[in-house]
């Protein structure tokens, strides 16, 4: 019996439907300033806070909410480059960030943390910002590795964003090229320490003073 090679079925080209990233970016609207909390919520908490003895209620509520937040930080599954390998090692059983309450989740709608692990190119930056904007508040970002911190060895490349903090606000910078899982784990612990000081009634907490 003669065996014939299968005739390749060429699918219709889908790239003719492809819209350019900058075209998508036009649909993307900037998040208005100060929508972290609704004004009603803020005025109610401010009212309780200024009531005699009311600060006890707000601080206890704050610490309870912050405990809940820091105990279930779910990072969105978002790997960009070689740092993502170290990030995967951190997620895996040897270093196991799940004991800290971190579950890598494959949906930005259910995530609280974005670990930017790798080089951010100018073409990727709108998509990164869109994913970050899809995440519900409160949300945090960890810049992992030299490339995401400052552009790293590709800083003078024509296509590299010189630091992901030009695109999204970053809470913790993890140095290294790439950072070993221990470094990322330390950064995540610093982030949890920072979340402990997150205030419900105010703005985002200042970056943690301790760096080691």
């Amino acid at each position: 019996m003669e065996i014939k090679a299968p005739t390749p079925q060429v699918p219709p080209p889908v790239w003719t439907e492809f819209k350019d990233l900058q075209e998508w970016e036009k649909y993307h609207q900037e998040r208005p300033e100060g929508d972290k909390h609704s004004a009603l919520f803020e005025s109610v908490t401010e009212g309780i806070h200024h009531f005699p003895g009311g600060f006890l209620v707000t601080t206890v509520a704050d610490s309870f909410l912050n405990w809940a937040r820091k105990s279930s930080v779910w990072p969105v599954t978002f790997g960009l480059a070689c740092c993502a390998i170290e990030m995967m090692a951190t997620f895996a059983s040897r270093f196991d960030v799940e004991r800290l309450g971190m579950v890598p989740w494959a949906s930005p709608r259910h995530s609280d943390l974005m670990i930017v692990s790798g080089t951010v190119t100018i073409k990727m930056a709108p998509m990164l910002k869109r994913i970050f904007d899809q995440m519900p508040d409160p949300k945090w970002a960890v810049s992992m590795g030299s490339c995401a911190n400052s552009g790293g060895p590709f800083r003078h490349g024509y296509h590299v964003v010189k630091g992901v903090d030009r695109v999204i606000p970053v809470d913790v910078y993890v140095p290294g090229c790439p950072p070993p899982p221990e470094s990322l784990l330390n950064g995540l612990l610093l982030l949890q320490d920072q979340i402990t000081h997150f205030r419900t009634t105010g703005k985002r907490a200042a970056p943690a003073a301790k760096t080691d």
Partner: protein
Amino acid sequence: MSAEGDGSLLTVTVPPDRWAELGRFAKETLGCLYFNFLTAVDWKDQGLEVVARVENLDVGLAVTMKSRLGAGQSACASLVPLYPGADWMERECFDMFGIRFEGHPDLRRILLPQDWEGHPLLKSYAVDTAHPPYR
């Protein structure tokens, strides 16, 4: 006529108006059916040079084709009618060096965004050019 050779490497330099003719000779006479790569070199004052390699995998013959476009010139004949595999490589070459391949069916940018200004692998491209909004 058939091509002979055993692991041999051949480099041919032609003027740009005979570029497509050389490609046709390499494909039809030398039997180089495999289009390996296409790129370009920026020699600053002396202009751009297009480099392509085609191979005859049966006899192990590799033909490197070169062509100096001349100072200030950016037009070159396209090899897509001969080698369909040259399609995306010529688009990339256009993207990075700004070489206009005449006869290419769909000469658009392939790696960079469509509204990118300039061709970044040219020596005259300023690397630290501001590219709003991200740098």
